[in-house]
Symmetry: C2
């Protein structure tokens, strides 16, 4: 089964497009966890346990784990073991380098950590992406039009009559012979999301930028889904995982996740 099929199956079975971003920060998790041996791991364990039935994916943001050194790596590795098999684990590290180096990142993230999918930066072109798409059961999400203000600096520049991000979307179509390439498109660009979905009618699109960053959920779901429905992954991080900083944090995260999932389901049914 290809990565794209696997994602589709999971989303269908669970009727969920929701992904929870595990951007876990020692300064933001409940204080009472700090006495734990590995507070980040304990935080993740409880968040995952409380929300697993609601999501299609969990997305640890690698920077937050690297910032904790060796303890962060341990937390990340052990966190992945808590993620049930019928949920996509998505390593958000935005990697990309010359071939022999991307190979090393692929080894680390796919073979050692065991991520189902990762995010990849396309700036260095095809040979920097290739080592990540060798196994059809592991997926990548190529940065296309990101949710942040800086997306206008280069991604929106016009190349001939088309913006650079459309060129990126088009290139991924050529590379996608293993049916395991998706895109990252920020929810902060609803019109462009709609246009990009027309270019790639049947690949996964990871959509961050809901919540703190200001993206609109309805358009993310309606424009982001593939022709056959599904394949949009709606990510929320801080608004869910930091819903409470008390001992009820996992329960509060579940309530937020459930609220968001309910909304997503409303927008999925037309």
């Amino acid at each position: 089964m290809t990565f794209t099929q696997k994602l589709y199956e999971i989303q269908n079975q669970k009727d969920s497009l929701l992904c929870i971003g595990l951007d876990v920060d020692l300064e933001k998790i409940p204080k009472f966890l700090l006495t734990h041996k590995n507070p980040v791991l304990e935080f993740n364990r409880q968040i995952i346990e409380a929300t697993s039935d609601l999501v299609c994916a969990f997305k640890p943001n690698l920077a937050f784990y690297e910032a904790l050194g060796e303890q962060g790596l341990v937390a990340l590795r052990e966190t992945l073991k808590f993620i049930p098999k019928n949920i996509i684990s998505l390593g958000d590290g935005k990697r990309g380098d010359i071939g022999n180096t991307s190979e090393r990142y692929a080894k680390s993230l796919f073979s050692d950590f065991g991520f189902d999918a990762i995010t990849v930066n396309p700036y260095m072109g095809s040979d920097s992406v290739e080592p990540f798409i060798q196994s059809s059961d592991r997926g990548i999400f190529v940065l296309t039009l990101t949710s942040n203000p800086g997306s206008r600096d280069f991604q929106r520049l016009k190349v001939g009559s088309k913006p650079l991000y459309e060129k990126v979307a088009q290139a991924t179509k050529k590379w996608n012979s293993n049916q395991n390439i998706g895109l990252v498109v920020g929810a902060t660009h609803p019109k462009e999301l709609q246009r990009i979905r027309r270019i790639v009618p049947d690949v996964p699109i990871l959509i961050p930028g809901i919540g703190k960053q200001g993206g609109d959920l309805r358009s993310a779901v309606q424009y982001g889904c593939a022709k056959q429905g599904r394949l949009a992954i709606i990510n929320a991080s801080r608004s869910i995982i930091y819903a409470s900083d008390g001992t009820d944090f996992a329960e509060a995260a579940r309530i937020e996740a459930k609220k968001m999932l309910t909304e997503i389901r409303t927008f999925t049914k037309k």
Copy 2:
């Protein structure tokens, strides 16, 4: 002293533009080192000791350390302690993400590891770069025109009358109020290097791609140096560190490094 000044001083004092890339791979280092507790660290220790007087910088490639898990992190952290203070430590990880995430990468690489400089991917624009340029004594090298074949996929696309990589070079000029931004331009593009050097006459340029990748050393030095001389960093990795796989590997690396430095000096003097 800004990062750019610091680099200039070091290159001047040592009369060296040479950077050795520490892309260290368990499969390529001499077999006899594998009995060591941390073979990669021992390899680096000996390479650094044998070549320190010849270089302006050492550039560990983060992917190679990440691929070794926790042991790789330890090797990287301890390797940095072996690098003398009058040599730039350059963390090659090509990071870049939304602001709050780039902040984490900056913390990890500059504060925790203590790198003097790192490489950064510009695709996500100004706010993804900003957290890396806060301290004027720490530098970044922004991917502009990379040495690999895939550099033609997006970097060379024409935006109006100019290629995208020139737009990136121009943007870094605007961002450079702390005098700590340099560029990455592959030696495999000599003409373009010359053109880029005219756009940014006085910033550092990191030039990989000599050796295995086919870049020409003479043009890298002559086109890469700034108006006032220096500020080109000529990187070589595999051709130096894997010069021998016997017990003489460090000595063999020194011989290769010295040979390259002598050539660089010939081309520096006109």
